[in-house]
Structure formats: structure tokens, C-alpha cells
């Protein structure tokens, strides 16, 4: 499947640098390297551990069995090169150089025979760090090879049907409503003489109900307003509501003659 597409990603795994379009997979063995190439080459290192790893791998050495003296010599010559080229040299490179020199000197010291088992190999810490770094260097390469959205993975999407945004209605609790109302009342007492008194809400409710049943164009029979099943209390409430509506001139009351049916209609 790779046939059709230019491969963008094997790059950093094998090649060290691309100079004028040419990939470099190994440092030329002879001493003379064109300065531009060298610069690009040196810049590809991700730090002292990366450079060390490169030096070890180049000679097919095992991390666990590094010839410290030789590696130190090579490392220092690279660091010198970087300095000569005035590459921005992270301080970490120099710290590593010092560490290598120290390991080298400790390796040169004769180790007391009986302490052989207990005293760790002076390279141990370096090896640990190199291994640890190599793990993540490899992990980074593996990560880079994972299929990735927009490079290898294309989420499928289709034109959505007319994108109507559904607006949800806010929630309100009764407590909020009541607290809003008590605020109004407090303000009303402060700013106006409007007296809000206790009222039978059932009458208010029945007023609303009655009014909405009444039509402005057509008369309704008075007795139809009283639901029998509500009993006496219902009749009283409705009657009070009608009286209140009449008082507020919201309804019109018509009776053709005494004892004739009473009709109501909303005031037009």
C-alpha cells in the first residue's frame, strides 16, 4: 500500500541528516566532512545521550559493554567540533564529558579483589541512563509510526442535515420563583403604597379560568361555569371570581328578564 505515497516518516529512523536532498545514513569515516553537512549532522542530536548512543551503535557495540576510553575520546572530539562550529551547545554536553572522564579514571584504578562483587561497575549509572533513553527514543519512533489522524486516519464526516441548534429551556425551581416574588414585595413596600395583601389565590385562579372560558363574541350560560363535582366550595369560589370579574369590568352580564338564564361574555 505504501507504493503510491511518498514516505514521509521512515526518515528519522535511519537517516541522520538530509543535505541538499541527499540522505546521510552514516557519518563519513574520513575526517574531512563538508562544514555544512557536519553542522546539520551535529544538530540532529537530541542531547548527549543521543550522541553517545549514536557513537555506540555506529561501532555495533553493546550498551552493556562500552569501551569507555574509546567512547570518551570520540565523544569529546564531537563536542570540540560543535564548539569549533559555534553550534549552540547545551551545557548538558559538557556535563556528560566530565562524567565520561570520571568513569574512565575510575575504570583505570585497580579494583580491590575482594570488593569485586559489591562495588558496582562505574559504568552502571551511565548504562542505566543510556538504556532508559534508548527505550524512549524507540518509543518515540514507534509513536511516530502509529497511524495518526489527518495523516493516516481520516475521520469520516458527511454534511449534517440543516444544523438546527436545539435550545434547552432553563430550569427554574419553585424556591427561586418564591424568592423572586418576596423581593418584589419588599421593593413594592419600599417604593410604592401598593398594598399586596393576602388573597385567596383560588379566586384569582378561578378568575383566570373563567375569563379564558368566556368568549367575547358569544354568550356563555352562567350556570355552565359551575362544575357540580367541585361541590359547594367550588361554587363559592367561582361565584366570588365572577363577582370580582364584574367588579373589574372584565365581563358583561346579561339577563333578559327576571329568572331568565344569565349569560356572560368577556368584554370586547
Amino acid at each position: 500500500m505504501e507504493a503510491g505515497q511518498p514516505d514521509a516518516d521512515e526518515a528519522l529512523v535511519e537517516q541522520i541528516a538530509v543535505v541538499a536532498g541527499e540522505p546521510f545514513t552514516a557519518l563519513p569515516q574520513d575526517l574531512y566532512i563538508p562544514p555544512d553537512a557536519l553542522e546539520v549532522f551535529l544538530e540532529t542530536f537530541e542531547g548527549p545521550l543521543d550522541l553517545l548512543l549514536y557513537l555506540i551503535k555506529r561501532q555495533n557495540l553493546d550498551i552493556l559493554d562500552i569501551p569507555i576510553a574509546e567512547i570518551t575520546r570520540q565523544y569529546i572530539s564531537y563536542v570540540d567540533l560543535m564548539k569549533d562550529l559555534r553550534l549552540e551547545l547545551a551545557a548538558e554536553y559538557l556535563v556528560m564529558a566530565a562524567m565520561l572522564a570520571e568513569i574512565k579514571s575510575r575504570m583505570l584504578l585497580p579494583r580491590p579483589a575482594q570488593a569485586d562483587d559489591e562495588e558496582a561497575d562505574p559504568r552502571a549509572e551511565l548504562v542505566r541512563r543510556l538504556q532508559e533513553y534508548e527505550r524512549f527514543k524507540t518509543a518515540a519512533e514507534n509513536l511516530d509510526e502509529l497511524p495518526r489522524v489527518a495523516r493516516d486516519i481520516f475521520p469520516a464526516h458527511a454534511e449534517a442535515p440543516e444544523r438546527r441548534v436545539v435550545k434547552l429551556q432553563p430550569e427554574v425551581s419553585l424556591k427561586e420563583l418564591l424568592s423572586a416574588f418576596s423581593d418584589v414585595l419588599k421593593r413594592a413596600e419600599l417604593f410604592t403604597h401598593h398594598q399586596v395583601q393576602r388573597e385567596a389565590l383560588s379566586v384569582r385562579e378561578r378568575m383566570t379560568e373563567t375569563l379564558s372560558r368566556l368568549n367575547a363574541d358569544r354568550f356563555t350560560v352562567f350556570t355552565d361555569l359551575f362544575p357540580i363535582k367541585e361541590g359547594r366550595l367550588g361554587v363559592v369560589v367561582t361565584f366570588l371570581a365572577v363577582l370580582e370579574l364584574i367588579k373589574e369590568s372584565l365581563v358583561e352580564l346579561v339577563q333578559a328578564e327576571p329568572f331568565a338564564p344569565i349569560y356572560l361574555k368577556a368584554r370586547a
Binding site: L177, V184, R198, A200, R204
Partner: protein
């Protein structure tokens, strides 16, 4: 896997871009040596259209080419993907609603009189759209202003059987006192009264002309 079919490549490309592609752009997915004829592309598109006849998507030709789109019939479900979180109602709206509930039937002028400030048309519209409030008649005075009352939906929403279930004004005052005491004793329990956590940080959007 065998070489993917022209139909599969076209489907993949249309769904990957998510916008219309012309027949020429579809042909250009292939290197020159393998470029399919226009007729072949059209045939593959027709096949796709046929494949989609019982699916949630369809192939549609628009001005700039062909695109795959989600069927309109699915809009009631799909639209819910873009639901907006509800904003909170303003204090002004709640006060207006409370006045209508307690003082119905009531005109806008009367509400304004009680609140001491004008009531925005926005608020009245919102309350009516929510079907909590409706015009139940007109007062027989000059201008014949609308009178508002609450609806059955309002009672249902607040879980009331009838308006009598609303606390009386005296009870309200007692509630206030109880709340104040609660404020002193258990400050952390009071915010819970302010609605659920989902709406806590959403700013009110009602414009309140106060």
C-alpha cells in the same frame, strides 16, 4: 487486501473531505496512469447512491460536485448533538412570572407598577413561548391592554395541583425568615436551592432593562 475498488476510494474521499467533490477532482485522486474515465466515476457514484438507499446517508449532487449527506429525516435526532446548554432566567423574568402567578389576571402596566420598573417585551415573549403564561383577555380600559394569567403547564412544571398550592404571602414572609436563619446556620446548604449544578455558571441572557 486487494486493491480497493473505485467505489470504495470515492466513498472514502467524499467522507474524508466532508464537502462536495467534482468528478474531475475524484479522477485526480489517481496517478495519471491509473486515472479512471469519467464514465467509470459516474457509474461508481450511481452504485454508491444505490447502496445508500436504506441508509442514514445519501449521495447528493450540488453545484460544485457530489457530496454525501445525512438524510433530512434524521434531523430530529442528529440536531440533538448540538443542543445548547440552557441559560438561566433573569431575576426580572422570575419576578414577572411570580407577579402574574399571584396577581392574575394582570396587565403589563400593573406588573410594571408593582415592580417599579418597566417589563421588557422579551420577557413577556419568553414566558409565553414557554407556555407558562398566556393572554386570557383584555381589560376594558383605553388601549384594551392584554391581561395575563398562568397556564396548566405552569402548574405542571412547578408540580402544583392548583394555584392554592403556592404559599400565601404570609407564608412567604415566614419562608424568608426561615431562609435567613438558614443563612446564618448552614450557609453551604443554601446554594443548593439555586437550581441544579448544570446551570450554575451560565450567565443570564435575558436583557433586563433595570
Amino acid at each position: 487486501m486487494a486493491k480497493p475498488s473505485l467505489k470504495n476510494i470515492i466513498e472514502g474521499a467524499l467522507l474524508a473531505v466532508g464537502e462536495p467533490l467534482s468528478i474531475d477532482r475524484l479522477r485526480n485522486l489517481f496517478p495519471d496512469s491509473e486515472m479512471p474515465e469519467r464514465e467509470a466515476v459516474k457509474a461508481a457514484l450511481a452504485e454508491l447512491e444505490y447502496d445508500y438507499r436504506r441508509r442514514g446517508i445519501e449521495l447528493k449532487e450540488v453545484a460544485s460536485g457530489f457530496r454525501i449527506q445525512v438524510r433530512d429525516e434524521l434531523s430530529p435526532w442528529v440536531s440533538r448533538l448540538w443542543e445548547e446548554r440552557p441559560s438561566r432566567y433573569s431575576r426580572a423574568l422570575l419576578e414577572t412570572l411570580a407577579i402574574i402567578a399571584y396577581r392574575q389576571p394582570v396587565t403589563r402596566a400593573e406588573i410594571e407598577d408593582i415592580r417599579g420598573v418597566s417589563v421588557s417585551s422579551n420577557i413577556m415573549r419568553t414566558l409565553q413561548e414557554r407556555e407558562w403564561v398566556r393572554v386570557i383577555g383584555h381589560r376594558d380600559v383605553p388601549g384594551r391592554p392584554a391581561m395575563f394569567g398562568t397556564t396548566r403547564k405552569f402548574l405542571d412544571y412547578f408540580n402544583l395541583k392548583n394555584l392554592d398550592d403556592l404559599p400565601s404571602l404570609i407564608e412567604l414572609r415566614d419562608l424568608e425568615e426561615i431562609h435567613m436563619e438558614l443563612d446564618l446556620k448552614l450557609p453551604e446548604e443554601v446554594p443548593a436551592a439555586e437550581g441544579s449544578e448544570t446551570e450554575a455558571d451560565v450567565p443570564a441572557q435575558e436583557d433586563d432593562p433595570v
